[in-house]
Symmetry: C2
Subunit: 619 residues, 2 copies
């Protein structure tokens, strides 16, 4: 079993506490790279001579580079978001791992392109390894699964829908090319085969040497046509990449169905069932259902185990759909449930280990059976999006997709002469199986480094993400427990939106006695503006956060009950249809110590008080 | 006018000649960043204390990081491609700009996400600036155009097709929603409106407050349906991303039409005309025509001016198509035609300036009227793909797309609550207008740095790319001029595929007197294997190149004539339908000096001789 990582040693730190180590390692790596260049054919003469280096133009070009770098550095310092500080509790960002940053920086100098093995003999292998690690994290069999790095969760979601759409179109293509394989099935049945059965048909087409012909008759060859391939069901809490995705893939936004969420901002599984039943009644197929593990706005975890149960029951009734999990945010949190040998722990064992290993000092506050079962059910999905650049704590940009059954990638794969050739026997023709083309091997090296230093189980990411959840719960508890802010005779309460499933806390301030949602929205919008780039350079801000709007357009009537907690007149919700809330993604691992948390909680309260004073009374 | 850059000062160099400067700047930038962290709220206590840093677990985690870095460094050194050396003449890669590398490395520590301005107050502005610079480079009006960075040319091509497809579907949507605007037009006419006219209709829909309704009726809302929106015409020399693109967008590969190329591997414009006439006769609309400026295999430049002329003439006849230029490779070479004030030079003036400024020592060898006019015609296209990570000499991954008329981005734009909100008045809601979501601000900073140091005209990139073209022409000339290799009584000739339009040279070796294409292909395949990762660690290779296959499947009968130059029996081409060639993208700027070129030419000849000896006589 791996030794436990020490979270304090992972990051540069809010005060650059670990800078000496960082700088020493960086210098070592750079020197090492320079030596690598010099030792490549030592007999080759230098191309740039000392005489060249003494020329006026040469020195002027260096000076130009120097000035541009200083300009860039100044620009970054003036405007950048201080993610690294516990004063920043906003978007899904915090400091990134030293290991990942250095891995990225070093690999830039080698500049591999993971599109083709030939352009990245070192980092293609790392990507295959990282793909297997992520597959394992999700509970898939790494030998049967497939995973790779994308430029982000958006592209990973696209690739999931691409797989789903092309898969769904295969049975009808089989009927055109090899009707004998599906002789007894009608169109409805063909649009309702389970994933495994479709991939088995693909195998039979391959054995018969007719797979290319089948692909030509599928949506890939023939395009989207006629009535399409059915609906895509996503929760209201979906990321907007799904709205873009159905446009891109020619499915059309009218075929995207939003499933209501409950007060916990998780998909309402009963509502999902009602929608599915309605579609069946109309004989409209379901192309895919997307569940979210860690919504971007609330950090909510859909009850995936219930969705899987529903899927299985419909499958018994001859109604099948592709199941994709968008765990772009929450995926890495599965490491909280894996022991040092990567075995998924029992429910009570999770608590025991978290406590014994000092991961969560009281996980009974956090872990519910629902969240536990949802994470446990992840390997039941056909494919999963998971982003290293979110809870993997690696720098932008690195997303990932993993698919349960690697046979599925044949439905989207391609070849091009200069990238790979059929006569090559190289097993790693990455660009052929993915949506993107050229891609930075450096981003892959960063993820590989992160996984090398921080294991994908409770000895590594579990500790790190556990620390962030503990910080989030301290924050959440303090929001609930602290007395209202009393300012100049006015009193301001704050109420969290929901109990966090992970480490995101949404909350809103409200002047006690105020029945106007409009005034409350104005207050929270103004607070946001005081605590964001909107009030001037972030560097002088006391506290920085983000915001979101719970709108009727996105969430239907769900947010109404939250307004009710403040005593807001329901008619106001009717009229406005939007509640502004502050949103703190608490990724920082530094709020676990009582003294440190107390400091930053005081900072937060103080910042809110000053902001409310600056805003002044309502007009 | 900018001072001319000195190419020798731009790169770390084949022997790390400029390493001292690089290291000094890097150390400065890192220290500067650490200070930035420390000075953010100087009164905040350090979170990680010296006591923490003395703990066993802390030290063990540092040691684990150290070991992982050493493992990564070793791995990179063992397997990486030495792009930096003039011994590498293979794929589209060479050393990358110091300015870009340092810009990337520094920005990683600030870790901006350019998806939303709020996550990247510094680098979103840089991306807008870079977009304008690239628009200007392409000859667009930067105030009316739109450009941004993508993760690569593949995604940029996707975005181009997304724009084209959604645009093409608008007139039919207008007919459904506001029929009065298109009252006198039939379906054929609606599918054949020019880009500007469609965007004017969009403006009228916006004025009437009905644009959202129009979008809902367009392909974005309704999906791809019925007979689709027409054919996409691309040259045979296309990048394979186009084949992926028509799958992704639901257009279908059967609607991708390959236009033959000539012996120069440029699109055959007469053949294009014949295809268009045939489609018109069948009343099949043309969704888009794609021209390539710098094919990935041959570096060929399609005669864009002739394609534009054709487009204009068809437009007069009521047949319109979207025109996208895939200049992923060649785009930056437009800087060779812009003077220090970014004005496009006259044909004779180009030669005069290249000569006077020492950019090309004899550009009459290189520049033809066709290539000149093709580059000149680029601003006539609706959109253009151009990759900084190719001839922009920046590290992976950075592509870009620029569109002539920025109004078009409304056809693919979206909003999401947490990224941006309608109440914000920020003009830089980048993620709403692009295909991708989260994206590295660091990649943008790298491109911005490159453009800051190397101007996008003959004082900057023109000099750099000019040096690479000069090197390519030296190589090409030497291939033509040098006597056959005489080895043990056998004689091997080498013939280039075509006169390079840019800096890519394809060529094949052939044993004189051998009539067998199969034997010739075996020889070149074996040469490739001796000069690539296939023969073992690249670090010990004398020369490294890439290869491509000219197949009937891709190129029809065009490659036959190349076989003829070697005296290959035409029946052999009939039988095999594929000619293997070596492919050298000569991006290195270091082959301009006679002595340096002579060294590396000897290296090349020697490597070829040794490789042929190792291969031995045909079985």
């Amino acid at each position: 079993m791996d030794e436990k990582i020490d979270v304090n040693a992972l990051f540069l730190g809010p005060k650059a506490e670990n800078y000496l180590f960082f700088r020493e390692m960086l210098a070592f790596l750079m020197d090492d790279h320079a030596e690598w260049r010099r030792h490549f054919h030592p007999d080759d003469n230098p191309v740039v001579t000392p005489e060249d280096q003494g020329r006026r133009e040469f020195l002027a070009t260096l000076q130009k580079t120097r000035e541009a770098l200083i300009e860039l550095a100044g620009n970054l310092q003036l405007c950048s978001t201080p993610w690294f500080s516990p004063r920043y509790l906003g978007h899904m960002a915090t400091d990134t791992l030293i290991a990942a940053n250095l891995g990225y920086m070093l690999t830039i100098l080698y500049n591999p392109n993971n599109c083709a093995y030939e352009g990245s003999p070192a980092t293609t292998a790392l990507e295959i390894e990282v793909g297997r690690q992520l597959a394992k994290l999700m509970g898939y069999d790494p030998q049967k699964a497939w995973g790779h790095i994308t430029s982000g969760g958006t592209v990973a979601n696209y690739e999931g829908l691409w797989l789903a759409r092309n898969l769904k179109s295969i049975p009808l293509a089989i009927r055109s090319v090899m009707p004998e394989l599906v002789a007894r099935l009608d169109a409805w049945q063909l649009l309702n085969l389970p994933t495994g059965a479709i991939l088995d048909l693909v195998d039979r087409a391959k054995e018969a040497g007719r797979f290319d012909e089948v692909r030509r008759h599928s949506v890939r060859g023939a395009g989207m046509r006629d009535k399409g391939l059915g609906k895509v069901l996503v929760p209201q809490s979906k990321h907007y990449s799904w709205t873009k995705a159905v446009d891109i893939f020619g499915i059309g936004q009218e075929n995207l169905v939003s499933v209501p969420v409950g007060d916990d901002y998780r998909m309402d599984v009963a509502a999902l069932k009602t929608i599915i039943d309605g579609l069946i009644a109309e004989r409209i197929p379901i192309l895919a259902v997307v569940a979210v593990v860690g919504t971007t706005e609330e950090g909510s975890v859909d009850e995936l185990h219930e969705i899987v149960r529903l899927r299985d029951r419909y499958e018994d009734r001859g109604v099948c759909f592709y199941l994709h999990v968008d765990a772009a945010y929450g995926g890495y949190a599965r490491s909280l449930f894996l022991d040092g040998e990567d075995r998924f722990l029992g429910f009570t064992e999770v608590s025991r280990q978290h406590s014994r290993q000092g991961i969560l000092h009281d996980d009974t506050e956090w872990l519910t059976v629902d969240v536990y079962e949802a994470f446990k059910a992840m390997p039941e999905a056909d494919s999963i999006t998971v982003d290293p650049h979110k809870l993997g704590y690696t720098p932008y940009a690195a997303g990932a997709i993993v698919a349960k059954d690697r046979r599925i990638i044949e439905l989207i794969s391609y070849f091009a002469a200069y990238v790979f050739e059929a006569t090559d026997d190289n097993p790693m023709l990455l660009g052929s199986y993915i949506m993107e083309g050229s891609k930075a091997g450096a981003a892959v090296a960063a993820v590989w480094m992160a996984h090398r230093v921080v294991p994908l189980n409770i000895t590594g990411y579990g500790r790190l993400i556990g620390a962030s959840i503990e910080g989030a719960y301290r924050f959440y508890r303090s929001l609930l427990a602290d007395p209202p802010l009393a300012l100049d005779g006015r009193s301001f309460e704050v109420i969290p939106l929901a109990r966090p499933d992970l480490n995101i806390v949404d909350y809103a301030f409200h002047e006690q006695g105020n029945p106007s949602l409009e005034a409350m929205n104005r207050l929270n919008q103004a607070l946001y503006e005081q605590c964001s780039y909107k009030s001037g350079p972030l560097y002088v801000n006391d506290f920085i956060t983000s915001k979101t709007a719970l709108t009727r357009q996105e969430y239907g009537e769900t947010p109404r009950s939250y307004g009710g907690k403040f005593g807001i007149d329901p008619a106001e919700w009717e009229r406005l249809g939007s509640i502004s809330v502050l949103r703190s993604c608490i990724l920082t691992p530094y709020l676990t110590r009582a003294a440190c948390f107390a400091d930053y909680w005081r900072t937060f309260r103080g910042a809110m008080e000053r902001a409310i004073r600056r805003i002044g009374p309502p007009a």
